[in-house]
Amino acid sequence: MSKAIDKASAPYTGSSKKSAGPGFKKNYMGWLFILLAVVGIGLFYFYPMLRALLLSFQSGMGSNLEYAGLDNYIRLFSDPTFIAALTNTFIYLLVQVPVMIILALFFSVLLNDATLKFKGFFRTAIFLPCVTSLVAYAVIFKYLFGVDGLINQFLLELSLISEPLNWLSDPVLAKITIIAAITWRWTGYNMIFYLSALQNIDRSMYEASKIDGATSFQRFFYITVPMLKPIILFTSIISTIGTLQIFDEIMNITNGGPGNATLSISMYIYNLSFEYSPDFGYAATVSYVIVILIVILSLIQFKVAGDDK
């Protein structure tokens, strides 16, 4: 059978190698075209990942590294600073991601209203924070929430508080400040996804439901939300990953303080490598924790929210 094909195909290919069928040749060409990308990704993604994994089994200061087996991974469990960083990161995650997703949904539905005027202006205004540099906005938030900052003055003027709040040096308020900052920065970004998804929802569904007497709440919860489900899943995964890696805001607004009340995992990695006596091995171990967490959380989100396909 194969011989027949070979014979048949030979005149077309003009190749002297009869064993190489057209299928192989096609693949060969295809591989060649993506070769550059494959080599690039291998070299600049997978190779460093592998090296980081090896590094995470080493221990020592600076360049005096030696293999220490699983010591670094065991150390994680008895390292209160790491546990504090992990806890803080999860607090950000559990509070900030839902708040932001709900706000983004809310804004996108408002802005999708056909009767709304100056839509373009509002959309731009809400999206604008995403264009600002992370460091620049973080520094501005730091001054807004300073003891003599605008927020305190505003609250004092309104007589909501009797004396200035220490936004940045109180463990709870500092976390609130960080969460407020991230929410401000990223809500517009998520809103854009919802807005574009809303355009794709068939208007006739809303019309039909109106005729059936559905209230606007019912329309939101039984049409909009289910239709946006894949996008909500996507944005919550992206936000989860982003929040797990949060660094700039904390570095610039509170520097992890007071104590380590706002320390995040990424910030801890930075401290381990650059702030303390450099321990790159342990820092690599902590960064692998982020990798593992992202994989687990994404799987959970797919299971909970995803379709069964």
Binding site: L32, L36, M61, S63, G259, F274, S277
Partner: protein, 434 residues
Amino acid sequence: MKEFQWKKSRLFAFALLTLIVLAACSSDEESGASGEGDPEEDPDTITAWAWDPNFNIAALEIAEESYDEDIDFEIIENAQDDIVSKLNTGLSSGTMKGMPNIVLIEDQRAQSFLQSYPDAFFPIDDYINPDDFAAYKLAPTSLDDKQYGLPFDTGVTGLFFRTDYLEEAGYSMEDLTDITWEEYIEIGRDVNETTGKDMISLDPNDLGILRVMIQSAGEWYVDEDGTTVNIEGNEPLRKAFENYKAMMEADFVKANSDWSQFISAFNSGDVATVPSGNWIGASIEAEESQAGDWAVAPIPRLDMEGAVNASNQGGSSFYVLNIPGKEKAAEFLGKTFGENEEFYQELVNDVGALGTYTPASDGEAYQAGNDFFGGQSLISDFSTWVEDIPSVNYGMHTYSIEDILAAEMQNYLKGKSLDDALADAQAQAEAQLK
């Protein structure tokens, strides 16, 4: 056949293109990282990294001018944090490409670099006489009996205070001289009551004041060997914690959360005293409207045997990297910072930088009065206090221990017992540093 050849040549072109792109990438990388010339040969240019254009960079510039030999000298300004991370990434990568010849490192970080990267730094014993420098600077800048750092500025501390506020509360210079922190807190209460001003501005994230307190009693977070954690049962640290809490509870602390807020706290006239390293003087003088309102008393001490009214905060030293050009760089440092007394007079006059080179302290510039501080001979006072600073080995873990302490300090302020807080800090530090 024709078609095939065409395909083949297209493939060849594609492969060639790939090769060119990759080659371009790699050659870019090399030329980007290597700097100039053959790495084995002595470079023509000596580069130096430092961070403060008004202070240590200015000092390097003066040094270059006063250096007799013709030298191609390039000073690169980097933020201190950037220097730390660049050194860490550069030295740990194993290649010394792109590293400077001379780099400024803060004393409390020095051991971490010296021990983490053996052979990365060049010992300069042959170029300077370490005994010419203040004794307390030598422990952090040397390793295994080799002198690596050239001691630069001192972080000798003083109690900067507003004479007008203190006078209003009934205190004179004499009442502030050689006091304890407990007395300082009492005075603070008075000042706060009579003038309504805060006594001090503190950043709850920065325990610098704790370090000032414990060094005045000759202790640190670690024992003399630089590695054994010494927190639980460290009496000076215990007292420092108590003082810190007492200050917070006395309600005369103006909180700040960064450097600029700290500066504005005293420039705006909101706080009465600034206990700090002498380098803060330049920032205090920056507010010209307060000229004549300031004076400097010796730093308060801990209320215990052996504590002195002199301590240290900050301060840094120059290091020579073990790369081609090291002899040139070491000689430059040796001939200027290492032996030139006149240079130090200039340093005081032009930059206001107080070095730790002891033979220079008899010079004229050191005796001059400072009008901003009511004619006080500031430099002379500081250089007398330098001699009293107890020498401690900072070890290499100051900042990691301090983060642990900062967290426990928060717990202590919230009501955790001091014994528990220190014991927990000790356990955490030991776990982290083993």
